[in-house]
Amino acid sequence: MSLLSVKDLTVTLATGSGDAQAVRNLSFDVGHGEILGIAGESGSGKTMTALSLLGLLPYKGRASGSINFNGREILASTKREYRDLRGKEIAMIFQDPMTSLHPMLTIEVQLTEHLLHHRKVSKEAARKVALDLLATVKIPDPAAALTAHPTQFSGGMRQRIAIASALACEPKLLIADEPTTALDVTVQAGILKLLHQLRNDRKLSVMVITHDLGVLSSLTDRILIMYAGSEVESGPTSEILKNARHPYTKGLIAALPGKVKSASKNLTSIEGMPPELGNFPRGCAFHPRCIHAVDSCKNDLPGSLQISASHRIFCPVNPFLSSKEGDK
């Protein structure tokens, strides 16, 4: 049984022009100690998926479907049940450690406040946990760091502190929303290595959300690609990278800078723009940008097709093309 099992998750947000579905019928699992990567462009619903797990959707947002966590249905939780879940069972780190740590509170308060609340430990015990955590995430001089404020640290260090804070109550699942996007490239690798190590040392399940396939390729066990609020393809990382079947995934992989074979060849890109929230195309949302689209794509929602036991795509056309034909 997976740690997290999401079925038919649909997230509806209130926009200026009425309700809009940001996530549509999304289903996925995260196993114990597994790292799942969710990838997609901005506005594809990745972050809303994560926030709905914690019941933290933005103002007037709502979710339907089913979210089973550790054998328990949590989507219909009360506020109180959600609070007991957050930080304690499911922790989250955010994109920009410059803004996700409170600028006016000391590191000690930010590392221990949820520990004090959830586990009812003494202040001294909480401080000891905080010191251990800072050492775990490789902050030099943890004792001095406790009394410091976030502004005294660099972006990479702040993200390490945010990770330490997320681990304080020993959660089973860590959601990392674009954990490296706001950081310099040179410190990104360190954060990814840290996440990987935490999974190995603590049997932590991790859900990484990013628009950067490069990040996912080095970190994740499985990848789920989202487009316009829906899954388009999912499978083991190596298989997705080597044998992507959905035209969108292929486009993303072709657009990776590492794929440029010579200086003369320009970076490839997917034509067009991702659709805006509330304005998703009918049928397969990707069809206006898809070179393989046929008439049925415009009207029918694509069903799922298993490529292998763990690899599936949502595209009615492409499985009949070989992977070579799809590359252009």
Partner: protein, 357 residues
């Protein structure tokens, strides 16, 4: 903006250090400069306004007699050139001499001593009321956003900022005095009431010092309604600003992060939202409180409250330049003091904040 003083270590440290004491010293120095600037501006403006103080203060027959006019001008120094008048005024000010009021014929400083405590008394109660009520309503409004409590509070706060003070004063007086009979009436005490021995000039405090609880109760009941009317505007401003400020902070990542930790909502609001919100709230509060003094002119006239507002009104009508200057100085000093207080509170709320010089 800082004057360069000697090279002594202490002076240097006080003027350029980043600690709390140097910060206060620097702010006090700039405050003094500001007060001097205020004297210059208000003096200039009183000279520029059309109107002849001699004509305003002498009767028609006296005004037609050049000898009386000359004597009046000589007595109040009006025959001197304006810059000389200003320098003399500044010199006298340094000795605590605000000049002699043209209308009351008493030293302005004595007038201020008599009238300012009355205003201070209702203003202090109004400040206290509006800060806590405004903050409370603003918080409730923000956390019940778009729900019923928020809707009700928004209507009230909008009404509070939109209604002119003289109208609220009259309406409140009519309802609570004539119709309901809850308020005792006008003035600071009941007619013929004996004020307590003068220590601070604040009747409530003085009554407590004298141990006279009946007078305290009476003085308090008389000041409550004018203070509440005076507070309405500031409550409206603070409620609206607190709500907006909290809603803005609520949208920050660090609030989402705090909620993602599973903290109870009161802790999220108190620790993660209110502290940063307070920084901007006290800025507005400082200005709103200082502007209570301006509101007091109208409120005091409606309630026959013998305070600075009434004095300012009479001084303005009578073109009583020393009186007007005296009131301006008090109001300006209150503004500057409020700003100083706000700056100090900034550093108390966020000790990380270093004075940017």
């Amino acid at each position: 903006m800082e004057p360069v003083l000697g090279k002594q270590g202490l002076k240097k440290r006080l003027l350029s250090g980043t600690g709390f004491t140097p910060f206060i010293v620097r702010r006090l120095l700039t405050s003094i400069l500001l007060v001097i600037g205020v004297t210059f501006i208000s003096f200039t403006i009183t000279q520029l306004v059309p109107g002849d103080p001699v004509a305003a203060n002498l009767g028609q027959s006296a005004y037609s007699d050049p000898a009386i006019v000359a004597a009046f001008e000589k007595e109040f120094g009006l025959d001197q050139p304006v810059p000389v008048q200003y320098i003399k005024y500044l010199g006298n000010l340094l000795q605590g001499d605000f000049g002699v009021s043209l209308s009351s014929k008493r030293p302005v400083i004595e007038d201020l001593r008599e009238y300012f405590p009355a205003t201070l008394e209702i203003a202090a109660v109004a400040v206290f009321l509006s800060f806590f009520v405004g903050l409370f309503l603003g918080i409730v409004s923000a956390i019940t956003r778009d729900k019923l409590p928020d809707q009700i509070i928004r209507v009230f706060s909008l009404t509070g900022v939109s209604m002119p003070a003289f109208w609220t004063a009259l309406t409140a007086f009519y309802i609570f005095f004539f119709v309901l009979g809850w308020a005792p009436g006008t003035g600071r005490l009941e007619p013929g009431g004996e004020p307590p021995a003068n220590v601070t000039g604040l009747f409530t405090i003085d009554a407590l010092i004298a141990g006279d609880f009946d007078t305290f109760k009476q003085a308090f009941s008389y000041l409550l309604l004018p203070a509440m009317v005076l507070a309405i505007y500031a409550i409206g401003v603070l409620t609206r600003f607190t709500r907006a400020s909290i809603l803005e902070i609520l949208g920050n990542d660090y609030v989402r992060a705090a909620r993602a930790k599973g903290l109870p909502e009161y802790l999220v609001i108190r620790r993660h939202v209110l502290r940063p919100a307070l920084l901007s709230i006290i800025t507005v509060a400082g200005v709103a409180f200082a502007s209570l003094l301006a509101g007091s002119v109208l409120v005091e006239n409606v309630f026959s409250w013998p305070g600075l507002g009434q004095y300012a009104y009479r001084a303005a009508i009578g073109l009583d330049l020393p009186g007007i200057m005296g009131v301006s100085m008090v109001v300006a000093t209150v503004y500057i003091f409020m700003n100083l207080l706000v700056d100090i509170l900034y550093r108390v709320i966020d000790p990380q904040m270093k004075d940017s010089k």
